[in-house]
């Protein structure tokens, strides 16, 4: 360690209207794991894409091993032994593992044709050298995400990369797969002499894995620290630019009363397959019930069933002793259920409508906002929008701004503002902070806990385990359309819950941890 392998000097990248990188300086040492962190839009991906030759910097210089280089395409970067593992894997689904690994540099026979046997042998050799097992003949589309990432890493190594850039590598992995990845990365660096740059926004991972960490904010490089000298608090402050108070969430003891009961429901997905196979749960006032699971195990459909967007095949949903079967979404809202949908742009908002129009949605029949039944009372509607903009800290010049012009975090705040202001007994919340920056996450989390403290019953679905752990009083794990475990806050670790989320609890844990509520 100690030799500078990469030096970025005064790199700036101007996109139309946005200065994505502003005079960035960065040094990477040979043989280190260097984390680059920052919020969405901080410019870390732009910087790395520049280093990988996908963008040319507007100004500034790149030095590799002390020599000035100019990258016009990824090929130039590959020549200088830089490889990138993208967040969305660059693998062709219908090709085999071997075909993907040699894509672009196929071994040939008779100059014209691909030598497929050679490609398989190359893959097997790589697999052995780096200790990453893959089946060269398997088609990528049949392979799990964790293994796909391995293939992607092997592909980059095959191109001769000594410097690997990993872009948000853990975003799609389970906790187990994340740990596996980390040991792979450690091995590459410690035993095989590689250098790794990892882009992420998960602070715990940075602290666990990296040697040094550089923080970016709003296109600027804030600073580089030795990981040993850093902690979550320091890093978060550097990322956000002000003090971030974690775990300030104050939980009050609130009387519990069962409000929502879901009994043995079954439902089909869009393809007509039974995706919810048997789910029962109950939700009490004054609690946050978190549903933890890998996406695609029925949680989206569960939410749609509860909000009247999907019909039930069997079972019953009871709110305050009244069955909600065959109720329309409007009737369900009237039965005191509000819904923050998982995809704010597809279901939560109209992009081409203004903030105040979006805030009105769902209240348009409310007499308070109409004049003579058929005419809207825009004055009152705008007044309400203004109040909510203030209360929910939505950053916008006015309530007339179109939703499409807001940042992800502010869009999400509009949805939260609208749904929370219905003051329903039950809140169904899905992915409340997906693609939202830290500052807004903090705010949204506070709002959710405040609702809980006021006695609302909250069902929370999130792909972000940290979020589930932070907010939930109780956690259910879901796997293949069934509930596989129920835990109280503090009774289980993230690693253990990962096993329940992958249906491996019975064999590996023997059902010893937590309480099984489903056979």
């Amino acid at each position: 360690m100690g030799d500078k392998i990469i030096e970025l000097k005064n790199i700036s990248k101007q996109f139309p209207g946005v200065l994505a990188n502003d005079n960035i300086n960065l040094e990477i040492d040979k043989g280190e794991i260097h984390a680059i962190i920052g919020e969405n839009g901080a410019g870390k991906s732009t910087l790395m894409n520049t280093l990988y030759g996908l963008f040319e910097p507007t100004s500034g210089e790149i030095y590799i091993d002390g020599n000035k280089v100019r990258f016009l395409s990824p090929l130039d970067a590959i020549k200088h032994k830089i490889g990138m593992v993208h967040q969305h894997f660059m693998l062709v689904p219908s090709f085999t593992v071997a075909e993907n690994i040699v894509l672009g540099i196929e071994p040939r026979k008779n100059k014209l044709f691909i030598n497929k046997d050679e490609a398989i042998k190359i893959t097997e050799d790589l697999s052995k050298t780096y200790g990453l097992y893959v089946d060269p003949r398997q088609k990528v589309e049949t392979i799990s995400v964790g293994i796909q990432q391995r293939i992607e890493i092997l592909k980059v190594l095959h191109k001769g990369a000594d410097i690997l850039i990993l872009d948000e590598p853990t975003a799609v992995l389970t906790p187990q797969e994340t740990q596996e990845l980390f040991s792979i990365v450690r091995n590459l660096v410690d035993n095989l002499g590689k250098t790794v740059i990892i882009i992420t926004h998960k602070l715990q991972e940075v602290l666990q894995l990296s040697d040094r960490v550089s923080v970016m904010r709003q296109g600027k490089m804030i600073g580089t620290l030795n990981t040993k000298e850093a902690n979550e608090q320091i890093l978060a402050e550097m990322m956000v630019g002000r003090e971030v108070l974690f775990d300030k969430l104050e939980r009050k003891e609130v009387p519990h009363k069962e409000i929502l009961k879901v009994q043995n429901i079954k439902a089909k997905d869009n393809r007509g397959l039974m995706i919810i196979k048997d789910i029962s749960l109950n939700l009490k006032s004054g609690e946050v019930l978190g549903i933890a699971g890998i996406e695609g195990n029925g949680q989206s459909e569960l939410i749609e069933v509860l909000t009247g967007l999907r019909s039930l095949e069997d079972g019953d949903i009871i709110v305050n002793d009244v069955s909600l079967i065959n109720s329309t979404p409007k009737e369900i809202r009237n039965a005191s259920i509000a819904h923050v949908p998982e995809d704010r742009l597809a279901m939560g908002l109209s992009k081409d409508a203004s903030i105040y129009e979006n805030i009105l949605m769902g209240s348009q029949y409310n007499e308070e906002y109409t004049k003579i039944k058929i005419q809207l009372n825009n004055k009152k509607i705008k007044k309400r929008a203004k109040d909510l903009i203030k209360k929910f800290d939505i950053r916008t010049p006015s309530e007339d701004v179109l939703i499409g012009n807001l940042s992800g975090g502010n869009m999400q705040k509009v949805v939260i503002a609208r749904e929370f202001s219905f003051n329903t007994e039950i809140l169904i919340i899905a992915q409340p902070t997906r693609g939202v920056d830290i500052g807004a996450i903090e705010f949204i989390h506070e709002q959710i806990i405040e609702k809980r403290n006021q006695g609302a019953a909250i069902l929370l679905v999130s792909a972000d385990l940290d979020e589930i752990f932070r907010l939930s009083d109780r956690i259910l794990t879901i796997y293949e359309g069934r509930i596989t475990g129920e835990f109280k806050q503090g009774d289980i670790t993230k690693k253990e819950i990962g096993l329940y989320m992958t249906g491996r609890n019975k064999s590996e844990l023997g059902g010893g941890i937590g309480e099984e509520i489903n056979g």
Binding site: P74, H88, L91, V92, F95, E99, L103, I105, L273
Partner: protein
């Protein structure tokens, strides 16, 4: 009557009518593999047919006719590529535009160059040579079926093998498939998907040019307005039916050719032509229905395997 219907001539006819479909479909499957839905094949064939006649008539050689048709194919392929790949226009609309453009242009040029309406035929149009293979002459049924076809009939089979080999055995073919399925993967491997897409688009123009010149110089020796007669769309159906695989697409094209031939034979035995002409199109619709159904069932089955 059945004997008359299902004779050797029917098979011979199938091979003849399938040829333009095979040629156009080979081009179209390349664009399909590169991720471009090309419904402009119809117009490309029509232009090929017209300029084939122009080249043959004025330059006095069928080869020159084919050459001109291919040249126009290259040009129209580049134009199609420019709009779809670089300007990112809707490929459906550009395809329709090409079809309308080709229909109008050929009618206009037919009048302004040859001074006729509807159709142009003349002894001055030199047809493509027919190939006679000596050793087949001795075996009567093989002779009837396979001998004395226009040259493109034989070439089209060779092209099937060539395209198959290109797609599945060469690196460039792999890149072309990758450029359609996941262009970003190809891009990060340092190969330009744009280039592969352009290659497919131009190749499609070339194949459609050949298909067209075969129609006007091999299949017949004349040009009539709209003589492509929806073959571009049937070729597209063959591509979908054959899942863009050259061998399977060949089989599909032969199947559609068979129904076309059957339609004509039905006319011979006295079925009104209004009905017989429906046959290939009905067959196309039926085939697409079957394929779609099969795919839906398969995706259901696949999903069950994952879920259960």
């Amino acid at each position: 009557m059945l004997r008359e219907l299902f004779s050797l001539a029917l098979i011979q006819h199938t091979i003849r009518t399938a040829t333009p479909l095979i040629l156009a479909a080979l081009g179209g499957l390349l664009t399909q593999q590169a991720g471009i839905l090309n419904i402009g094949m119809e117009g490309m064939i029509l232009l090929g047919a017209f300029f084939g006649v122009v080249g043959s008539y004025f330059l006095g050689s069928s080869l020159a006719g084919v050459g001109l048709a291919i040249l126009v194919g290259v040009l129209i392929g580049l134009i199609f590529g420019f709009f779809v790949i670089d300007l990112k226009s809707d490929e459906f609309i550009i395809g329709i535009a090409i079809n309308i453009f080709a229909g109008g242009l050929t009618v206009f040029l037919l009048r302004s160059i040859f001074g006729v309406k509807g159709a142009f035929s003349s002894p001055g149009i030199i047809p493509l040579p027919r190939i006679s293979i000596p050793f087949l002459e001795n075996i009567s049924f093989l002779d009837t079926i396979f001998n004395n076809h226009s040259i493109f009939v034989y070439l089209s089979w060779i092209f099937v093998v060539l395209v198959y080999t290109f797609l599945y055995k060469t690196p460039q073919g792999t890149w072309l498939i990758a450029s359609g399925e996941y262009p970003q993967a190809l891009e990060t491997a340092g190969i330009s998907p744009r280039k592969m897409k352009y290659i497919s688009s131009v190749a499609c123009g070339v194949f459609c040019g050949m298909a067209g010149s075969h129609l006007s110089l091999g299949y017949l020796t004349l040009f009539t307005e709209n003589m492509s007669a929806n073959r571009g769309f049937i070729a597209l159906a063959a591509i979908i039916f054959g899942k863009s695989n050259p061998i399977k697409t060949l089989i599909a094209a032969l199947l559609f050719g068979f129904f076309d031939a059957l339609g004509m034979r039905l006319q011979v035995v006295g079925v009104p032509s209004q009905f017989t002409q429906m046959v290939p199109y009905l067959a196309t619709i039926l085939a697409l229905f079957i394929v779609t159904k099969r795919q839906m069932d398969k995706s259901k089955k696949g999903a069950i395997e994952i879920n259960e």
